[in-house]
């Protein structure tokens, strides 16, 4: 009898240990980057062009580039992703076609990001002739983001009770009217959460932009959608591996800006979700 409870105590201790082994490195990563990166952050770092082969000055064009790329991704991915989610949740019946769409989404989610880079290079940069450009990079990132947006948005749409759709139909609403006036407004917080989660993934990715848009060193802002641009993730890669004699301050500063951007989007998404979940009426 005693032994069993000793075993239980040991077992629970091991589980707790595992959880600590998972959590402590996460805390360490975030804390280290925040503490060591904070030393680099000042007005110049955030708003100036890089100088001296990036060893001095700021990272302004990389910040702008990441924002521009994320917006470009949003323009393409939001309509496609939300449209796809509406199709799957509201229109698709259980046919082989629907099943192959679901399978396609699962596989899109699993394709390695560098393969998206190859695809973007082959299709958008070379075949369609966009060159290494914001357009090519945004399109590549958008397709990569699609499965995240589709699956979270579909989940949000499915969470809206079927009865609302029935009631809307019984009042002479067409299927689309029910979606437009009842289902979409109710699912909106969940959809927004999914969109943010997808976009923050796009904002932090490096491999898909390597050959489609990213400029190694371009100390000016992009002038058109067909221009190259610097971007934060690629810039972090460059300053930490490609340039000898780079001050650690700049590396950690860049890492901090990127991490802060992504985490604030992440926290924002979580807050939207929990706020609306509490307020929901059904």
């Amino acid at each position: 009898m005693r032994n069993r409870f000793v075993a239980q105590r040991v077992g629970f201790a091991l589980l707790t240990l595992a959880a600590l082994v998972v959590v402590i490195p996460i805390l360490t990563i975030v804390a280290t980057i925040f503490i060591r990166g904070a030393a680099a952050i000042n007005w110049e770092f955030l708003t100036a062009m890089p100088r001296d082969g990036m060893r001095a000055g700021g990272i302004f064009p990389a910040i702008v580039g990441t924002i521009v790329l994320t917006l470009g991704t949003a323009i393409v991915a939001i309509p496609l992703g939300v449209g796809g989610a509406i199709y799957l949740s509201e229109y698709a019946r259980d046919t082989w076609l629907t099943r192959s769409i679901r399978l396609a989404i699962i596989n899109l989610a699993g394709i390695p990001s560098v393969v998206y880079g190859l695809f973007g290079l082959g299709l958008f940069v070379l075949l369609m002739g966009f060159g290494t450009s914001i357009v090519a990079g945004s399109l590549t990132l958008a397709i990569m983001t699609l499965p995240v947006i589709i699956s979270t948005a579909e989940e949000a749409l499915r969470a809206v009770p079927t009865e609302f759709r029935t009631v809307s139909a019984s009042l002479g609403g067409t299927r689309w009217q029910g979606i437009r006036y009842i289902v979409l407004p109710q699912a909106l917080p969940g959809i927004i959460t999914g969109v943010i989660l997808g976009l923050l993934r796009a904002a932090g990715e490096t491999a898909p932009i390597l050959f489609t848009v990213a400029a190694f060193y371009l100390p000016r802002l992009p002038r058109s959608p067909l221009d190259q641009t610097m971007a934060l993730p690629y810039h972090l890669y460059v300053v930490s591996t490609q340039v000898p004699g780079m001050p650690a301050k700049i590396q950690f500063g860049t890492a901090l800006v990127l991490l802060a951007l992504v985490l604030s989007l992440n926290i924002g998404a979580t807050m939207i979700r929990s706020y609306f979940r509490r307020r929901r009426q059904w």
Binding site: V22, I29, I106, W176, G204
Partner: protein, 298 residues
Amino acid sequence: MRQTPRVRWGEFAIESLIRVIGFSTVGFVIIIFLFLLREGLPAFAQINLDNLFGTRWYPTFGLFGTLPLVLGSALITITAIVIALPLGVATAVFVREVAPNWAREILKPMIEVLAGIPSVVLGFFGMTLVAPIVRETFGAPTGLVAFTGALILAYMSLPTIISVAEDALDAVPKLYRDAGLAMGATQWQTIWRVVVPAARSGILTAVMLGMGRAIGETMAVMMVTGNAARMPLGLDALFRPVRTMTATIAAEMGEVAHGSVHYHALFAIGIILFVITFLINLAAASTMFRKRRRGGLR
């Protein structure tokens, strides 16, 4: 109010658009694969197969042996899963079955934070802080070795493994737990002998998805594994530099001439990666679909 106003052209247009968008996701997968084939297949014609599946990757000398890259990817992926699986499943069990509420409230967002950290940031952290520790602990000449990569990859696949394993534990009927406890088993025995075994197909899915995630990871791996394209054989392979398929594409694609043999060879690696991840995801998806069918509802 007696009639439906006009023929709803706008509505017809938007519904058709939604359908087209729905179908287009399948189109994307096909287009991606066709593109890889288009750019990658010439490699199989231009490079003889002995060379292509050989053990030496020295593109400047016309040697395109992909074997060290495939094995390099396999080595760190498998090592990563060996590390991440027990950690992830134990954490999932902790979160679902044991943890007090306050601990759960801290753990869940922490794991979400981990999922959100860009891979290049993890790679940066790995090369500046983890690699020196690995070097000193194991007395290796450099810390940029396969093991460091596997360690970083393990943490990158943890969020996936934890969340899928949690769902699997969640799906175990409460009845099982009650039955275990009613027979006089302790909570630990019930978890260990009843709940975890009942969730094993879901845990298998978690492993597969985690592997899919790990094998396709690029930036972090490229930054911490040292990138030496050598055969990772021998007992010390884990503590030597290694190079993966993903890192090879990322590192070399920027410098090759479009249309060259080297360019096509990199796409050929892309095909191999695509096929591997496709199969892994197919397998994971089929276990999920099977579960859903058994579960009934929707």
